[in-house]
């Protein structure tokens, strides 16, 4: 038992049949081939399945797919323009913030929202904000540095991109 839902996925309209008990994470990965959101803990502890739902970071492993009807979903795939990576993505690479990479799409989406809310975050603010994302490689130092770097680059590029 389910229904056809329509939503925007990384800017593109999607229309797909989902069962009532299907989770957004599984629909993204298994039916739509969007692989950046990861299954980590399945119970809301790790943040690996984070997506932006109407611009807000939420956990796709605890979201029913039927609920996103009419909404806007963004995953890490939606950040890059063609081959041009997003500022946050580049900062993660440049700071060596990616080790195994499993948690990184979640971190990057949360970092996007963080920078939107506070373009000049200090370390405390960043650590507080990313506490819902776990990195089993424990690469937090570089992740925090990458977010700071992204903030600086965004500041530097203000006006330039617009």
């Amino acid at each position: 038992m389910g229904k056809v839902i329509r939503f925007r996925l990384n800017g593109r309209p999607v229309s797909i049949y989902v069962e009532n008990n299907e989770l957004l994470l599984n629909v993204l990965r298994e039916k739509l081939g969007v692989m950046s959101p990861k299954y980590g803990c399945g119970i809301g502890e790790c943040g690996a399945c984070t997506v932006l739902l109407d611009g807000e970071p939420v956990l796709s492993c605890l979201t029913l797919a039927v609920e996103v009807d009419g909404k806007d979903v963004v995953t890490a795939e939606g950040l890059a323009r063609d081959s041009d990576l997003d500022v946050v993505q580049r900062a993660f690479i440049e700071e060596g913030a990616i080790q195994c990479g499993y948690c990184i799409p979640g971190f990057i989406l949360v970092a996007k929202k963080l920078l939107e809310e506070n373009p000049e975050p200090d370390e405390d603010f960043i650590r507080e904000y990313i506490r819902g994302n776990l990195c089993r490689c424990t690469g937090y130092v570089n992740i925090v540095r990458a977010i700071k770097r992204a903030a600086e680059e965004l500041k530097f590029h203000v006006g330039k991109n617009k």
Partner: protein
């Protein structure tokens, strides 16, 4: 609906580490009502087979672990009447389906109900706070619910709507035990009314947890009003130290009319320890909880007092 032929129902208290939380192994009918009336009608129709989906951060997890297997899911996220924060002169009203993140971002909550702001800020990560609701936190009736102690010290009232109409229940009467509230199957928690406190009242919330993301081992909220260092009015509430969140009435009584000296605070901490009835569980031991209750009540009183002095 097809029967769950392939899924052998597990007894509750399964080893959650062995449960597949990748999928939701429960089939259900799904509703998205738009009004409280529709919600109540659905609940009345399906009784205990129906469950309200608010944020989903507890419900979906428990369904994945097959602690519960509802046949009907009533999603209240799209009910506008349950989704608001409104200044109503003598109280602030918050819709039960309002997300924690919205409460955290409300200037009026931060300024007038600081303990509630601090409690919400202390909860989980930003993703969970974007999903979880204040009503869900209360209705799950966890003894450790972080929004409960602040609402207890502000003496909030809960507006409950059922088929026969609505009623206001003081939050002190809402919780009956772990996972149990006065809500009947055909009733929904609609609004939380938080009375504005007398001028000069300050509040504080403190939580002890293993890591920032975890549930409380002990949490405490205080609301304090003093005049020249003497306690005019004080309310203290604690969570995770009894089957429900509790008020520390004896400690409050002891403190009223006294000057907040070190000796008085020490004595208050001792009384708190006699009022709590903690248990030992995976997060902490009863002894630790008892000891720490006294310490954080003292700390919270000082924190609130500093806010009074600092204004």
């Amino acid at each position: 609906m097809t029967e769950r032929k392939f899924v052998k129902p597990l007894k509750p208290k399964v080893d959650v580490n062995k449960v597949n939380t990748r999928i939701l192994p429960v089939e259900f009918e799904y509703f998205e009502p738009r009004t409280v009336k529709e919600v109540v009608e659905l609940l009345s129709k399906y009784g205990s087979d129906a469950k309200i989906l608010a944020g989903g951060t507890d419900l979906i997890v428990r369904m994945k672990q097959r602690f519960i297997e509802p046949k009907y899911i009533v999603n209240i996220k799209k009910v506008k009447e349950l989704n608001f924060i409104e200044d109503r002169r003598d109280h602030l009203a918050i819709g039960a389906a309002t997300k924690l993140r919205e409460i955290e971002n409300s200037g009026i909550v931060r300024k007038k109900f600081t303990a509630l702001y601090e409690a919400v800020r202390s909860m989980a990560g930003v993703q969970i706070r974007n999903m979880a609701t204040i009503g869900g936190n209360l209705c799950n009736a966890s003894p450790a619910a972080d929004t409960a102690p602040p609402l207890l010290v502000f003496e909030a009232k809960l507006k409950i709507v059922g088929l026969d109409g609505e009623k206001l229940v003081p939050i002190s009467e809402f919780f009956l035990g772990p996972g149990k509230t006065v809500l009947k199957h055909n009733e929904v928690l609609a609004e939380i009314w938080i009375p504005y406190q007398p001028e000069g009242t300050e509040s504080a919330f403190i939580k002890i947890a293993r890591v920032a993301m975890d549930l409380a081992k002990v949490n405490v909220a205080v609301a304090l009003r003093t005049e020249g260092g003497v306690v005019k009015s004080v309310r203290i509430a604690l969570g995770a130290v009894a089957p429900t969140p509790i008020r520390a009435y004896k400690t409050e009584e002891f403190l009223t009319g006294k000057e907040l000296s070190e000796a008085v605070l020490e004595k208050a901490a001792e009384i708190v320890k006699t009022e709590v009835k903690p248990i030992t569980d995976i997060r902490s031991t009863a002894e630790y909880r008892r000891e720490v209750s006294g310490v954080i009540v003292k700390d919270a009183l000082l924190k609130a007092y500093e806010r009074i002095s600092g204004r």
